[in-house]
């Protein structure tokens, strides 16, 4: 065996050892998904009337979730946590875009929806499907939004999916998070996605 061949074999063996020994990347804290096209090609108007698609947020880690301004509990909790997650990202915060899709476009006027999301963070964007389009939008995310009359019958509330859809910088759906995910754990996931090349 020539000297150079031997060197090459040693190198190959070293490479193999390295591959075998390097641990797989740790799992994300949120649920990982791949090859799922939820929300793809769906355009929804923002509060200024401009149609937005996930694919428009190039190079951004984009979070999408459903809510409405008459939701006093889960939606503000989620928005507040996402604000804290964004703060925890530090320099990577500029690579994060939060989108709240209204499940109550009839009562969530553009102004009301805009004030609601911006009350938590000025970078957050509210999306408001036309009432006739809501069902299509919700289906595109395989989500649920159901109007339910209140006990007195005079009003209604909206049962809706509370999961958070996370798209990477290439606009691929990568993670599905529950709204009670720990802030540090979620920030760690999003930092990884923000720093992916």
């Amino acid at each position: 065996m020539s000297r150079s061949n031997r060197a090459a074999m040693l190198l190959a063996a070293a490479a193999l050892t390295l591959t075998a020994c390097s641990p797989p990347p740790p799992p994300f804290n949120a649920s990982e998904v791949s090859g799922i096209a939820y929300g793809k090609d769906i355009g929804i108007a923002d509060t200024s009337g401009q149609i937005r698609r996930i694919e428009d947020f190039k190079d951004q880690v984009t979070l999408v979730f459903f809510g409405f301004t008459r939701c006093p509990d889960v939606c503000p909790s989620t928005l507040m946590r996402l604000r804290q997650v964004r703060d925890a990202l530090g320099e990577d915060a500029s690579k994060l875009q939060v989108l709240l899709v209204s499940v109550d476009p009839e009562r969530d006027t553009p102004d009301r929806l805009d004030a609601y999301v911006k009350n938590f963070d000025p970078s957050f964007i509210g999306l408001r499907p036309e009432p006739t389009e809501l069902e299509k939008v919700v289906k595109a995310f395989h989500a649920i939004a159901v109007k339910v009359p209140t006990a007195d019958g005079k009003d209604y509330t909206v049962d809706h999916s509370a999961t958070i859809y996370v798209y990477d910088r290439g606009n691929q759906l990568r993670l599905i998070a529950q709204p009670d995910i720990a802030i540090d754990a979620f920030a760690a996931d999003l930092r990884r996605l923000a720093q992916e090349s």
Partner: protein
């Protein structure tokens, strides 16, 4: 000076009232709301020091046209919110925590946004203990 003595008198009255009542309210708070937002959530821990169960049957506050008792549940990733029309049972020598993503008061048709740092009174009506008035503080959290 006058307002100070009034506040003192009020505090004294409040402490006398609470000393007599078997119901204690811990950490009542409400989340700050955005302009145009017409509902707000209220959270607290209700402690019942009596040897009998009690029931929170209704609530009222000058900040809202109506105050309802709600429960939020998560079911397979879906958030459901329901009004508790029969009120909320507070066990004897026990407590019930109203907290985000769970039981809460819902302030309906807010008359003005709830601003962080402000506080407002809420009257809680209990089946046995009667009326308990507590001061909610508005927090941005």
């Amino acid at each position: 000076m006058k307002s100070v003595s009034l506040a003192l008198a009020f505090a004294l009255l409040a402490s006398i009232a609470s000393a007599a009542s078997p119901i204690r309210i811990d950490n009542p708070w409400s989340r700050a709301t955005a302009p145009g937002q017409v509902v707000g959530g209220g959270f607290m821990t209700i402690v019942n020091t009596a040897n009998t169960t009690d029931r929170l049957v209704s609530a009222a506050s000058p900040v809202a046209a109506e105050v309802q008792i709600h429960n939020t549940s998560m079911d397979g990733g879906v958030m459901r919110m329901r009004q508790l029309t029969d009120g909320l049972e507070i066990p004897a020598n026990g407590k019930v925590e109203l907290k985000p993503r769970s039981l809460h008061l819902m302030f309906m048709q807010l008359k003005a946004p709830l601003e962080a740092g402000a506080s407002f009174p809420v009257q809680l009506q209990f089946e046995k203990a009667g009326t308990v008035t507590t001061q909610f503080t508005v927090e941005q959290r």
